[in-house]
Amino acid sequence: MTRGFKIPKRVTTEIDFEGEVIKIDAEVPEQEPEPIPEDKKLNIIGKKVPRINSEEIVTGKAKYAFDINLPGMLYGKILRSPHPHANIVNIDMSKAEKHPGVKAVINLNKKNVRYVGEEIAAVAAVDEETAEEALNLIEVEYEKLLFVVNMSRAIEPDAPKVSPDGNISKPRPRERGNIEEGFKEADVVLERTYKTQVEVHNPAEVHGSVAKWDGEKVTVWDTTQATHGVRRSLAKELQLPESNVRVINHYMGGGFGGKLGLNVHTVIAARLSKIADAPVRIMLTRKEESYCAGNRPATIQTVKGGAKKDGTITAFYYKSFNNGGVGSGGSNATPLWDIYQCPNCLIEESSVYTNTDASRPMRAPGHVQGTFSLESFLDELAEKLGIDPLELRMKNYTTKNSGGTGTPYSSKGLDKCYELGAQKIGWHRRNKKPGEGEGPIKRGIGMATQIWGGSGGPGTQLDFRLLTDGVVEIRCGTQDIGTGTYTIIAQVAAEELGINVKDIKVMIGDSDYPYSGSSGGSMTAASVCPAIRTAAADIKGKLFAIAGPLLGENPENLDVSEGKIFVRNNKSKSISFKEACKHITEGMLITNETRGPNPKGYAFNSFGAHFAEVEVNTLTGKIKIIRHVAAHEFGRSINILTSENQIHGGTVQGLSYALFEQKIMDEQTGRMINCNYYDYKIPTAMDAPQIEPIIIDSVDPVLNNLGMKGLGEPPRIPSHAAMANAIYNAIGVWIRELPITPDKVLAALEERKEG
């Protein structure tokens, strides 16, 4: 150490993030606590612990960005294009500028707009109504251009061009083996096409930002899943040093992937605020939230698969068009690429550009769409082969990724999910012959498989302090988007330090706290919790260094549990945790130790299997989900209560996607028709089925020091697909297009009658 500084260890970890492999290069600690043994009795981790911040929520004290009321605050509104494709010939802001009560206007100086809702200009005024009035006074002269909003039209050769290079992006092929050989080996070859709709995130709290300047520094309360990400992007956009930008997000009313990046309205709020020299609040209306704040892309997916008589899958060919709007349509193929043993596979996916707002990641992007096609196809294949659908899945089970050709999974409890799920739903009760039930109301049972990443990764930084009164303060720039991040952080710290969660103060959702990544890809829990445990263990050591001399013992021999520090082989020799803290002479103990990298040589994935029981009225076409069993393996669950809640939520959203939700576009005007909570159908209490979560008791042996993976997205992935398969089992007719609305059920039944 003659140089006076040390070079820390940095490791690059490869991570499966929302279906794509990304690399995180991060500084990692020299030492991490040993993984908690699977059989160790824990007091707080893995229990049903109520959210530590729930009192703020149930009393209305929780402040969301939506609730920020600042003295002198102005209300910002954005003028959006009413046309799906147009040149802007002229724009006159003068009347708006002069309107009483208007304090700032911005012209974004656009020459061209490509979707209804694209931002053109903005105003800030003393109240929302005045701002609306001012928007109406902005005069824009448009030159309307040809447009296309629906994907099935956009892929036709003579469709209006959204992008100069055409409407279909070059396919991104993924290939292994040789599909021609694979199909030759097959006894049965089947090809089917499936369609999914555009789904809108529609979170409870709309997108929005409140911006306030203090000299050259700006503070933004933002509805975001990426507190630090927004700080960095906004600083770049405003050409400010990062230290001049602060993003606050203590509470956020749902995001589901739609709030991951920096939004245009956030930049506008900051700019308006600077001009007006007053705080500016821009919250989107529900209408704006619906038609121009992102969505899950629609897809047209074709699956061709071959199998031997015994069910061995020999080849998959997959082709998909994904409606990206003016952005990318993403990728759906990972479930098909990964889940089942299959040596020969070819995937070709293209984004299709349309004159609609850009798609954004939405809870398990791609996997939701891809699981519908894959799992419907597996059931169709099973029927053709005369094999039970569950048996077909077990026949092609693999313990390595890439269809059995890749890396071994660190842990995989999918077989357990199949076994326990089938048992619970009563798989044997399903119709042997689909649609065989008597009478007009038919019941059916179906299932589907889930795979997802969610390994978490290194890079989370934190500030972990133990004060002299025994209270812990944790500052970390992660965020709680409704999944319960506050609580699991407190649980892990409390467990490691042997104290009560009440003594852990968790401060997150602020870019003034140390860096942590965005909340996407089910990454938050497994990134942050192991880091918290490393820091807590470090603090524990520091406290033992104080407690050791007090007990006349070597600190190495100490342990802590239930508020007491004791000698490991002589429990009667002890000092209370709080008492030991009084002897902290430097005011506090502090650390920023964090988690290590993920080990190399494994694939890290979570697994699940959903089983649905449905009732279909063949006279009205109405579908009711009766029961839904949701089995999940995601390593160690930190909080059973919030884990169950995630599983419920994923299932209800799956029901919604299977039966109700779709963004409907008017092809004449290019506008969304159902941009409100009435016409865009979201399930209510009356639609919620009985949901029975099964949390597989497992601990990942190598992934991280808690043996945990993420659960945010997984319950969303197979829910709708299981329901669709159950609907087939009930009525004996395939409906290959979501949502499965009553009209589609009746039309399909009618077609079979005629056929």
Partner: protein, 210 residues
């Protein structure tokens, strides 16, 4: 001739609105903290106009046991009065059209959508918001149950859910699961936490029985 009758009703309504505006004072801004027993303050015979030409008047609201005389616009919805003028931001707005229930508050004990209610229409009413359920910091049994059973995810719709649950249990202290579903069907939870919400309402009913 139902059409004519409807028109008449509409006229009556407008008239009463105008009378209301005449009947209340101007210029007063959020004078708060008068014990509800003292109740309404006498109104002045004036109508005020903003620079933008919007009619304004003062209403008397008894919110969570406190009396407020608040100057509001004729077009103002109760949710905005609560959130913007009284800074009671626990009441949320999600849909702005009476489709989701996030803005549910109790007016004279009855649950209403405050985004669909003009403030002037609830003049002299007693209003309970989420902030009023736990006076002196002691949580309402419904609030306790929502904490224990995790009847929330992102928490944004939760105040509305709780207000609906309070009203439901007041009318029916021993609801069945189906009655809970029906009673809570006016409140959307986009996260889909319905099952935990049902558990919470049933647990609150159980607390009520103890």
């Amino acid at each position: 001739m139902p059409e004519k009758i409807e028109k008449k009703d509409a006229q009556k309504h407008q008239l009463s609105r105008r009378n209301f505006l005449k009947g209340v004072g101007s210029g007063a801004v959020t004078v708060a903290v008068i014990p509800s027993s003292i109740a309404a303050i006498k109104a002045k015979e004036t109508i005020s106009f903003q620079e933008t030409g919007v009619e304004k008047g003062v209403v008397n609201l008894i919110v969570n046991g406190r009396t407020y005389n608040v100057e509001v616009e004729a077009r103002e919805i109760l949710a905005d009065t609560l959130r913007k003028r009284l800074n009671l931001t626990g009441t949320k707005i999600m849909c702005s059209q009476g489709a989701c229930g996030a803005c549910t508050v109790l007016v004279n004990g009855i649950p209403i959508y405050s985004c669909m209610t003009l403030t002037m229409d609830v003049n002299n009413s007693e209003i309970t918001t989420i902030e009023g359920l736990a006076p002196d910091g002691k949580l309402h049994p419904v609030q306790e149950a929502f904490i224990e059973k995790d009847g929330m995810q992102c928490g944004f719709c939760t105040p509305g859910q709780i207000m609906s649950a309070v009203a439901l249990l007041k009318n029916n202290p021993n609801p069945t699961l189906d009655e809970v579903k029906l009673g809570m069907s006016g409140n959307i939870c986009r996260c889909g936490a319905y099952l935990k919400i049902f558990e919470s309402v049933l647990a609150a009913a159980e607390k009520g029985r103890r």
